[in-house]
């Protein structure tokens, strides 16, 4: 079988750091080839080498059997290689067509010939079943649609090898399914695909071959049909990975968090949390399951004092904390792993050490009389970095921005857990992380529970909620529709609850069928 792309023995070094060490990847025509590795394993570096953004120190690249030297992205484009980036490169207030032709605008007597371009976009869109409106503005279309525009962009430029970089990171489950279908369609039409990901189920679903890299080294290539998620996870992480987190039965004690008929409005004044009741006890993990946008964010923001409470009250250890300032709430025993670590969890332009002191910088012994002792800050940070295995280039002095997502998250968890809060709120704590980091974080949450702390977990991932929680409260349209035990429910039941059907309703429906 003919290879369309062969990357043989690629080596790429940054200073003393070897990002890619003797990696080989061979893509056959008409296949989906997954590139699997943890965050920071060197997947993006390898693809940037292929795309001409980096020059390798050693190794060969062959396209359609011919040795090539890809010196910049234009060369890659000419060879028919296109890339759909994780963060889309689109101009928000341009139309689909304008974005697609950007950089190679077709002209007619010196003016842009938008009509012909739009027609071509339309044809391509129909050919590949993308269903994109050439005249829609980017800011008006969904994230999934925007991604299709990126796909169209590569097709418009004549790519027949398409690289997808973590394509599902920002998509809804529905959009993910559609993307998988699009990828299959692309293959049918004769394209070849490299799929960069660390999500095992996606690989199992669409790919033909998997090349695994770990810490910059090529581990090998396996055929998807001859492997399974457990084996892939082991290859990726380099040790056995437990998907089902081991834990002893919970032993719930006194009530730590008590929420009574809470109502919270969003920024537009629309009620997002409606008359919500919730109890979390010491020594248990309560998981909030639900589809994004059913009031989870507003609920957490209300508990932590970041959003005004419209009605109802929140008690911590029996004491009213409703409407207190965030710092007062934090100090009264709440730890908070925020859902958006870049927006709320970290000051990305601060060193990670400063970030670890974000909740304690104003207290003794770190500061005295308004003067911070940065030696103590760094000492404290090193301690957390050690304990929570936060990996970075320059230890506590590395900019938070330069750390991988998993390591950023570990630093946040270390910061919040070390303050020893009675209630730990973990909002989407594993979003975008690889299996190794997920396992680590789940263990820490369970550890807190076993220490007798109350843990409130918010997640959109069903298996995470099922795995980690002792109680599952399903949120729908701003209220808790039902509370179930993970041992006595199924993903199907949860799915129905999350869609707003109470189990009683469902049984009735079942009876009439």
């Amino acid at each position: 079988m003919e290879y369309v792309i062969e990357m043989l023995g690629i080596r790429k070094q940054f200073g003393d750091f070897v990002a890619n060490d003797n990696i080989t990847l061979q893509l056959k025509k008409g296949e989906i080839h997954a590139l699997l590795g943890e965050n920071g394993a060197g997947k993006s570096t390898l693809m940037n080498v292929l795309f001409g953004l980096y020059q390798p120190e050693a190794g060969k690249i062959r396209v359609h059997g011919k040795d090539v030297k890809i010196t910049d992205p234009n060369v890659a484009n000419k060879l028919g290689i296109g890339m759909v980036h994780q963060h889309f490169m689109l101009v928000e207030n341009f139309t689909v067509t304008e974005n697609i032709i950007l950089g190679s605008e077709p002209t007619k007597m010196g003016t842009i010939n938008i009509k012909d371009a739009a027609k071509k976009v339309q044809t391509l869109s129909e050919q590949y079943g993308l269903n994109v409106d050439p005249y829609a503005k980017i800011e008006d279309i969904s994230v999934g649609m925007q991604q299709r525009v990126e796909i169209l962009k590569t097709l418009y430029r004549g790519a027949d090898i398409i690289i997808f970089d973590e394509p599902t990171a920002s998509l809804t489950p529905q959009e993910i399914t559609e993307l998988m279908q699009i990828m299959k369609r692309l293959i049918e039409e004769g394209k070849s695909i490299i799929l960069i990901t660390h999500k095992l189920n996606e690989i199992m679903e669409v790919s033909d071959q998997v090349t695994v890299i770990r810490k910059g080294k090529g581990i090998g290539t396996v055929t998807t049909s001859e492997t399974n998620p457990t084996e892939l996870a082991e290859l990726m992480v380099g040790r056995q990975v437990v998907f089902k987190t081991e834990k002893i039965a919970s032993n719930p004690k006194e009530v730590v968090l008590q929420i009574d008929s809470l109502t919270v409005a969003d920024n537009r004044g629309i009620d997002k949390v409606k008359n919500l009741n919730l109890t979390v006890r010491a020594g248990e993990i309560v998981g909030i399951a639900g589809i994004d946008g059913n009031g989870q964010s507003e609920l957490i923001e209300a508990i932590t004092g970041l959003r005004k409470v419209k009605n109802g009250n929140i008690k911590l250890n029996g004491k009213e904390i409703t409407g207190l300032k965030p710092r007062k709430i934090t100090e009264s025993g709440v730890g908070h792993i925020p859902q958006d670590r870049h927006k709320h969890g970290l000051v990305l332009d601060f060193p990670i050490g400063h970030n670890i002191a974000l909740q304690t910088y104003y207290n003794k012994p770190i500061s005295k009389n308004g003067v911070i002792d940065y030696k103590k800050v760094n000492e404290f940070a090193r301690q957390i970095i050690d304990q929570y295995d936060v990996r970075s280039g320059e230890g506590e002095m590395s900019l938070a921005r330069s750390l991988s997502g998993g390591n950023q998250q570990k630093a946040i968890i270390g910061r919040e857990v070390e303050r020893n809060p009675d209630l730990l709120i973990a909002a989407l704590p594993t979003r975008g992380l690889d299996v190794g980091a997920i396992e680590f974080i789940h263990k820490r949450l369970i550890e807190q529970r076993d220490k007798g702390k109350a843990v409130l977990l918010i997640s959109f991932e069903l298996d995470e909620v099922m795995n980690v929680s002792d109680q599952i409260a399903v949120i729908y349209d701003g209220y808790i529709i039902d509370t179930v035990s993970p041992h006595e429910t199924t993903e199907q039941e949860l799915g129905l609850l999350m869609a707003g059907q109470s189990l009683q309703d469902n049984k009735k429906v079942g009876g009439t069928q």
Partner: protein
Amino acid sequence: MSKRLVNILVPLISILLGLIIGAIVMAVSGFNPIDGYVALWNGIFMDTYTMGETVRQITPYIFSGLAVAFAFRTGLFNIGVEGQLIMGWLAAAWVGQAFELPAVIHVPVALIAAAAAGALWAFIPGLLKAKLQVHEVIVTIMMNYTALHVVNALIGVISGGEERTEKIHESASLRSDFLETITDYSRMHWGFLIALLAVVIMWFILQKTTLGYELKAVGFNKNASEYAGMNVNKNIILAMVISGAFAGLGGAMEALGTFENMSKLHASTGIGFDGIAVALLGANQPFGVLLGAILFGALKNGGLNMPSEAGVPTEIVSIVIALIIFFVASGYIIRVALERFGKKRKEEK
């Protein structure tokens, strides 16, 4: 090429390039560049008098640079340093002439008044930004004009209809016989020591205090700061107020040192606006601002000598000085060029 060498080479090459292009401009315009640069040099270093005047010129630039840099480090763009500076100038001039106090009290009181006036003028845009999300650039620009006319009106009131305020009492003056003697009666005054102290203060606030930690955090990421329990609005206002206080002190240098009074202004002094360039030259670092102010003030003062000694007209002088500053500010280009050069040499080996 070692990093250290690059760091030293970049500013040197930048200044050299600026001088070369400036020389071309002078030559094309029909003036002798060598004469021009000799005059520039003499205007900075010729004798103790010019050196004293150079230091005097540098002093307010340090303050205006610090004011812009401080706001910048906390995520704010304070274009209103000019207005805050002249408010401080008037406050210091008024305290200097209206009261009779012993010097140990009079100078500090005048300085505090200047800082307070500048701080007040910056408080308003800070408050509007914090409470109503009005962009500080617009408000501070407008308040420069307001300050100009308010100051001119107040000068009239204070002086009973004169064009300038009375000379300040000697007890409030920063000038000294000692400095005048060693610099051949230049207007150099003790303000440069206060400016150096201000550099250290800014460094201390930003690098050592919880206040500085909060201000920087809010400047980088308001959401994370709020999450960590900081009062974002308070910090925005405080950042503007401290920035304005630096600007006000810059005005005090003119009131208590250079001029010892204040005359009605027909237009901006330019010190506040030049502070933006000084801050950028210094990469918004306190000690960088000091270096930037030295370069800026020295060129400005040296340039004054070029028309009289070398016959280069003021307009050409401005172009030459602007070119030098342009090249220093675009040091990045030279850095990249040097790195390419270093790489090529390595490959050839």
